[in-house]
């Protein structure tokens, strides 16, 4: 499976994609740096807003979308899936390899700029830890979701972008964490971030009151939801792969 992992990694990682997302990450860091040099009292909550409005709902899912829809989707589109499909390997193993290859790229591409943003803004270690956990889990959920999407849907990138922009970045913010937000990955990622860092997001809360202590009982449901999304994503993608018409 190592050779399949390497081939999937090389298939999805192109110079253009890497450069585009490195530039996107650099822009995020530039904004974070500007928050730091401004040196004002509310800079940490502004950093949170930057992460809440740009990194988690937009940058992260777009990175996950581009790389995960291409991992199996590109193979299906260009006809090279046959070289994997017609081998006596369990479909779920192929899906897990695809996920591992995608996460190998998306985790550094998302965590790197986010860590740098947190550091540049002079945020606490607690924030650093919170953003790491929430970004990693959201990454896993998005990648599991979009891998099957890329396999099944033609023009998955276009439809996926529409989903990210319309749903994750817009509709999910309308009801302050209730209603549509409850079925967005962003909501659970931000909930983890909020609880672990003891910061409240202005986009999800009408008050600026911050929780005073970490209550892990509040964090676990969100963690479990994101892990469940990953599991369901793997199972559904495995079923789709076994039923796939291969060119």
């Amino acid at each position: 499976m190592t050779s399949l992992y390497r081939i999937m990694l090389r298939t999805s990682v192109t110079r253009g994609r890497l450069l585009a997302f490195l530039a996107g990450g650099a822009l995020l860091d530039l904004i974070a740096y500007s928050i730091r040099v401004s040196d004002y009292a509310a800079r940490e909550s502004d950093l949170f807003n930057l992460l809440a409005l740009a990194a988690l709902p937009l940058y992260l899912p777009v990175v996950a979308l581009v790389f995960s829809t291409s991992s199996l989707g590109d193979l299906a589109q260009d006809g090279t899936l046959v070289y994997v499909w017609l081998r006596p390997v369990a479909r779920w193993k192929v899906v897990l390899v695809a996920l591992a290859a995608t996460l190998t790229v998306t985790l550094p591409l998302t965590l790197g700029p986010v860590w740098l943003a947190v550091w540049l803004a002079g945020a606490s270690w607690q924030t650093f830890w919170a953003i790491t956990v929430s970004t990693a889990l959201a990454n896993g959920a998005y990648v599991a979701l979009f891998t099957g999407f890329g396999l099944r849907v033609r023009h998955a990138l276009m439809f996926g972008l529409a989903y990210v922009v319309i749903w994750e970045a817009s509709v999910a913010t309308l009801s302050f964490g209730k209603g549509p937000a409850a079925i967005s990955i962003r909501h659970y990622a931000e909930s983890i971030l909020s609880h672990l860092s003891r910061q409240a997001f202005s986009v999800f809360s009408n008050s600026n009151a911050s929780p005073t202590a970490i209550d892990l009982a509040d964090v676990w449901p969100s963690v479990i939801v994101l892990l469940a999304v990953m599991l369901v994503g793997v199972v559904l993608t495995s079923i789709l792969l076994s039923r796939q018409d291969v060119a």
Partner: protein, 312 residues
């Protein structure tokens, strides 16, 4: 029939359609151990047939059994089958050994690298060539595809237009390889749209045309069938009417039509006799023969004839 009875692939009343396009219709055939060629023009349904046999897609109707199992769902079949697909695309950013090693590893081989190098040498490529596959010529890529299909020594080898893009020498060498593999108690199915390629393989032939099985049997029988079909030939000469009259009297043609001022079109089912008779007749009549042009010698016409002949 089971594999012990030498039938490896059984196709029963298989049809495949994509929306309103019928790719295959009512195909019933048995493919035995040994070399079988699937002959037909482009768009005849060969690749659809191969995809169904390999389980890459389901038939819309009918059943396919490979060593008695459904190829769509059986993991066992994937252990013993090797496929050279028609599409040229190979994964980017990898060299031949890496790509073929992946195939060997996914087949569960103990030494994927060693098996890959051996398979690459078998198709006469250099396993030490570290260049990416994207820099390979079409013929080299084709041979890499063959290498990944044979790396695990499959009992069933299916090759979709494997000789495309190969130069004549490579084509001959690869054809010899397929013949050798077939003699080693394997089922080897080779598709082609080129009659001469099938002739070189000299195998059992299934002829597909317009999604239907147009003919099947030994290559020589198929060749004879093709030669004996009615031929339509245009003849230009100095006095076409005199030639028409002479030909009708010779009994070697079944119909004559005029075609312009200096030509006639004849129909004949005895083409060999006609070829022998024509020069003698023009000499006897003192005519100048300007052109002899077969009007239906392209493969499409040949296959159309076979389909029409088989239709009830």
């Amino acid at each position: 029939m089971t594999e012990n009875g030498r039938a490896t692939i059984e196709i029963k009343n298989v049809a495949k359609w994509f929306g309103e396009v019928v790719a295959l219709s009512g195909i019933t055939a048995t493919i035995q151990t040994g070399l079988t060629s699937l002959l037909g023009p482009n768009g005849a349904g060969k690749s659809s047939m191969i995809r169904i046999i390999c389980g890459l897609t389901s038939p819309s109707q009918g059943t396919v059994r490979v060593i008695g199992q459904d190829p769509r769902t059986s993991v066992e079949i994937r252990k013993v089958i090797g496929l050279v697909p028609q599409q040229e695309r190979l994964p980017p950013g990898v060299n031949a050994v890496e790509f073929v090693s992946m195939a060997a590893a996914l087949q569960g081989m103990h030494d994927p690298q060693g098996a890959a190098r051996k398979a690459i040498e078998t198709v006469e490529l250099d396993p030490n060539d570290r260049r990416h596959l994207s820099s390979y010529s079409k013929g080299m890529r084709q041979r890499v595809k063959i290498a990944q299909a044979i790396v695990h020594d499959p009992r069933i080898l299916i090759l979709d237009e494997p000789l495309n893009g190969l130069d004549p020498r490579q084509r001959s060498r690869m054809a010899q390889l397929f013949i050798r593999l077939a003699t080693e108690d394997r089922c080897v199915l080779v598709s082609s749209h080129v009659l001469e390629e099938v002739q070189e393989l000299s195998s059992t032939v299934l002829v597909l045309a317009e999604g239907k099985l147009a003919a099947e049997g030994d290559f020589h029988a198929i060749r004879q069938l093709l030669d004996d079909r009615p031929h339509r030939i245009r003849l230009r000469c100095s006095d076409p009417l005199a030639l028409a009259s002479g030909l009708m009297g010779s009994g070697s043609v079944s119909g004559v039509q005029t075609s312009g001022d200096d030509a006639i079109v004849i129909d004949t089912s005895a083409v060999t006799q006609f070829r022998r008779r024509l020069p003698r007749l023009t000499q006897e009549l003192g005519l100048h023969l300007l052109e002899v042009a077969p009007l239906d010698d392209d493969l499409e016409s040949v296959f159309r004839y076979l389909v029409a002949r088989r239709s009830p």
